[in-house]
Each structure stands twice: as C-alpha cells, then as structure tokens.
C-alpha cells in the first residue's frame, strides 16, 4: 500500500485545539469536522488540501486533548498519512484505532518542506521525497499495532478476534 501527495508542513507541538477547535466539537460528523481542520493554524489548509496529500510536522504532533475528532478531521479531509518527529501518545493511539496512517521519522520531518511531493510505502516504511530526490526509513509498527491497522481499526480487530 502506498500514499502519495503534496506536503503540508508544520512545526513543533501542533495541538488538537488547532487541528480541530473545540467550538466545532458540538458535531461529530467527519465531513463537518474536516471543513474546519487546521483552521486556527492554517486557514488555507481546507481550501488547498487534495485527496492523498500528507501532513509532515516536527515534535509532539497532536498534543493536548484526547478528542478523536482530530484524527477524524484529518482523515476526512483526504490526508493519506501524517509523518512527524514524534506524536503525542493519545493522538498516536487514536490514529491507529481509526485507521489513519501515521509514521514517526525524525529524519523525514527535517528533510521535507512545505509543498514537496512525497510518497510513502507502508509495507517497507520507506518515505521518498520526490521533489528533492531523497528517501528516509520510517519506524515500523510493532506486530500488534500492524494487526489493528490491517483490520482497519480497533473495532474490526476485536470483532475478528471474537
């Protein structure tokens, strides 16, 4: 499985309040949430994002609230993968549980700029920056998490187990 698209690049500590502000949490509809994704940090994001695009960020992406609305909004906006130096732990769990692909890779976070064309091979974990002609090795998930991802989320994984 591969993801390929244009990169939206952000810095350290992108929190869940800027990914999806709480003023929109009176809804849990993915499409409605996607309409406000990243609004408080990047007003142009929702107008420019295309199906398959990627978000790349530095340290501690998704810190703050436990709101699953954050990865839901990102996924529903068409983003195919989030790459970061590190993720906040609740965001990390939530992304895996809802089937939004994420990869921790400090080298890629440093070597990719806003607007670069990037391709990710989920099987090998290789991240290719097609604009710059460079590539990086992302960290593989532990076997257990790969099973959840292959089942396309925690609920399906539990259903399959039973």
């Amino acid at each position: 499985m591969k993801a390929s698209g244009t990169v939206f690049k952000y810095g350290d500590n992108v929190d869940t309040d800027v990914i999806i502000p709480a003023r929109y949490l009176n809804s849990s509809d993915p499409k409605e949430l996607a309409g406000h994704c990243m609004e408080d940090i990047d007003k142009e994001f929702v107008h420019n994002v295309k199906q398959g695009d990627l978000i790349v960020a530095d340290k501690n992406f998704g810190c703050g609230s436990s709101r699953e609305h954050a990865p839901i909004a990102i996924k529903a906006s068409g983003v195919s993968c989030v790459i970061a130096e590190t993720f906040a732990r609740i965001f990390y769990r939530n992304a895996i549980n809802i089937g939004l692909p994420i990869i921790e890779c400090p080298e890629a976070a440093r070597g990719i700029e806003n607007g670069d064309e990037v391709e990710v091979d989920f099987d090998s974990g290789v991240i290719t920056n097609k604009t710059k002609g460079t590539s990086f090795q992302g960290q593989a998930f532990p076997e257990f998490m790969q099973k959840i991802i292959r089942a396309e989320g925690l609920v399906n994984y539990i259903n399959q187990k039973e």
């Binding site: 003023r23 009176n26 709101r67 699953e68 590190t86 609740i90 769990r93 939530n94 039973e162």
Partner: protein, 418 residues
C-alpha cells in the same frame, strides 16, 4: 529488575507476575469514562461491535460536563444520545445536569476511583486519579468504546520519570505552581509516553486537592499518567468518599527510572505559563506588567473547594477591577454547596465576580467566557494553546487560584501578596 508503581498496577491488571517498559499488554479495566463530547463518538462505534451490550453497567461513568447545561442544539443532541445510551444499558454512573460536576473532580468525590484501579477515560485529564494511587490515563473514543464493550484495553507499559519532592510549599504557593514549574523544566513533551511518579517526604505536606491538580496536568508534559504514593491523607480521602476496597502498590526499591529530579517545594514561587504553551513558564517576579480583561477560576485542574477558599481569601473585602470579568466555576454540585455554606460565594459576588454552575465551559472555549480578539485572560485551567478560549489572537496565562484572584483585583498579572 524492579518495577515502578505504575508497572506493578499494570502487571496485576494483566494477570502477569512482571512487566517491563515497552511490553504490550492487555489489562482489565476498573472504570471506563466518557463525557458529552467524546461519548457520542464512542457510542456510534459501539454499534459496529458484533458482541452486544456493555461489559459492566457499574464500571462505566458518563459525565455530561463540557457543554452543559447545553449551549446549543447540536450539543443538546449529543447529550440526548448519551442519555438514551445510559438508559438503554442501565449505566449506574450517568451524571446529568443536577448531579453532574466536572468529571475529574466528580469521580473521586463520588468514590468511583480508588488506589490500585486501572482507569481509562476519553478525556486527556483522566490522569487526575493518579493522586489516589490509581493508574489512569486518557484515551480516545474508539478505545472508550472497546473498553465499554470488553472491559479491557491494550497498553504499552511505560517507563517512568521520578520526581522526588522535598520540603514544604510557602504561603500562596500551591500544587498548580509545582506542576507548572515541572512542565517549564521538562517541556510539553518531556514525559512523552512515560509515567510521572511523584515521591519524597514533601508529599505529606501536599493536600489532596494539590495532588489532584499535579496529577491532572501530567498530560501537559506529554505523560501517560502521573501517580502518587498512597499515604494517610490518600487513605482517609478514600475512606471518606468511597465504599470500595482499594489496593496499595509501591514502587520496588530497585525500580529503574529514565530520569530523576529532586524538587525543593520550599524554593518554589507562584508560577505563570505564558501563551501559547504550558511550558512557557515564568515566576511571578519575572512576569512584568501584563494587563488582563478576564479571570477564570475553575476547571478539572483548579475548581475544588481548596481552590475556591484560596480565591476567597484573596478577594475578601476587595473589588474586581473595573474592566475585568471574573468568572468562578465550582467543579461539582457538592463543592458549590460547600462554598455556599462557607460563605465563599457571598465573598465572590460582593467582590464583583460571577459564580457559574459546574461546567468545563470556557476552559476549552466552549462557552461561559469566550475571549475576543486581543483579549488576555489569567486562568486556573490547564491549556493556553492558540485559540483555546476563543479568538486566535487572544491570550491565556495559566496560574494558580491565588494569582488569578489577585490579578482580578489589580487588572494585571499579580502576586497574591499585592
């Protein structure tokens, strides 16, 4: 190799003699929590399970606290969805308007969280119950749904950072200043994926309310959980509030920690976190002249009785400065009542503050105190991210109830001594 306090609780809940940092385990849950924002998403996920029903109707807590009394039609729809779910599954710990309080103040008060428990909550501040010696951590709605359906959750066993607390806090210095100091020291990702284990002879001088505040903000350092040893004060709190049996775990003497810090409580000063991260801390003497337009005293971090008593001590016989809006939010109905009986509410109202029914309200920019462009607020809440309390060009300064109340009187960020 020895285990940390957190590791011991997780090993017992997983039915294992021993666990190691990094190990993936499946643990039995004592409580699964959700609120009016996160539970509707979880309830929707519940429909996808092939198995029907919930694992235990007494081990689920649903607290309507973020946007209640409902601020608009959409939030009313959310509460209705949770109310119907609670009714259908006969959830005994469903708390709606009239009984509700801010979840992390309410559940310990109701005796639903005790030492040795393994608790997940679809709210990041679920780590609060570590003050009682429980393992508790925030998760998302899908984890909550899986927890409600199966009574189990998967965890990666965390490594830990040890904070050795010594000495005693000075007057006007509180648990809030301790945790802001720590976050300023290690950063908002300083404890990422890790336990924050508090220990040392300084703990005996910390009130339970101080400990709840400290454990509550472990997440603001990226921590998986924050946890305190179970001493006499914790035992007496649990006996007063709960009929449940509790189990006391202690870290092994040869437990391994990633880092160890010693903090002399007597050296700490009132501390303020500047916009837009809780790690941007300054002590009160370094703050400078910062005018403010709003003060919020409340939230799961600082809406407890002791917080209100401190605020009242500062506001007694004083007036909130003209041009400043001071919003005080007792965290639960019981705290509200106790504050009324102690005369604290009279002090607040006579000072020109307002007192609200329990709600998370302004903390997350829901309602009850939204900031306009360019406005500044001193708040006893837990996050000062961009746009958290309103306009993206507004600013939040995190502080203790004492500093917040003093700032309400002067109209600028001020030390309680002023």
């Amino acid at each position: 190799m020895g285990m940390t306090m957190t590791q011991k609780i997780l090993a017992a809940a997983a039915g294992l003699p021993e666990v190691k940092a990094g190990q993936l385990i499946e643990a039995d849950l004592d409580l699964v929590l959700g609120n009016d924002i996160t539970a509707p998403v979880a309830i929707h996920e519940m429909d996808k399970f092939t198995a029907e029903g919930v694992f235990h109707k007494d081990k689920i807590a649903l607290v309507m606290d973020h946007f209640v009394p409902n601020k608009d039609i959409k939030s009313a729809q959310h509460c209705k969805c949770v109310r119907e779910f609670a009714c259908k599954h006969e959830i005994s710990n469903y708390f709606d308007v009239g009984e509700m309080g801010i979840e992390h103040a309410l559940l310990p008060e109701k005796g639903l969280t005790v030492a040795g428990d393994v608790i997940i909550g679809a709210d990041s501040h679920t780590c609060t119950y570590g003050a009682l010696g429980a393992f508790s951590t925030g998760v998302g709605s899908t984890d909550m749904a899986a927890g409600m359906a199966t009574g189990k959750a998967w965890f990666k066993v965390p490594s830990a950072i040890k904070f050795n607390l010594t000495g005693k806090l000075s007057k006007w210095v509180s648990g809030k200043d301790v945790i802001l100091h720590i976050i300023g020291m290690i950063g908002v990702d300083g404890a990422l994926y890790k336990s924050m284990e508090f220990t040392g002879d300084g703990i005996s001088s910390l009130s339970m309310d101080d400990r709840f505040t400290i454990a509550n903000m472990a997440i603001e350092a990226g921590g998986k959980n924050g946890i305190f040893p179970v001493d006499e004060a914790a035992v007496s709190y649990m006996k007063e509030h709960s009929k449940r049996e509790f189990k006391v775990y202690e870290a092994d003497e040869d437990a391994v920690y990633d880092q160890e810090y010693t903090i002399d409580l007597s050296a700490l000063k009132p501390t303020v976190a500047f916009p837009h991260l809780p790690e941007n801390t300054k002590t009160i003497d370094e703050v400078g002249e910062i005018e403010i337009q709003q003060v919020v005293i409340g939230s799961c971090t600082n809406g407890r009785l002791e917080d209100l008593r401190t605020a009242a001590k500062v506001l007694e016989g004083k007036k909130v400065k003209k041009g400043v809006r001071c919003i005080i939010i007792p965290a639960t109905q019981r705290i509200y009542l106790e504050a009324m009986e102690e005369g604290l509410l009279r002090t607040f109202i006579e000072a020109g503050a307002i007192v609200s029914t329990p709600t998370c309200g302004p903390c997350l920019g829901g309602y009850m105190g939204i900031l306009a462009e360019g406005e500044r607020c001193v708040s006893t809440t837990n996050r000062n991210f961009v746009g958290r309390m309103g306009h993206v060009e507004s600013e939040i300064y995190l502080a203790s109830p004492a500093v917040a109340a003093a700032s309400a009187v002067t109209g600028r960020i001020s030390a309680p001594e002023e």
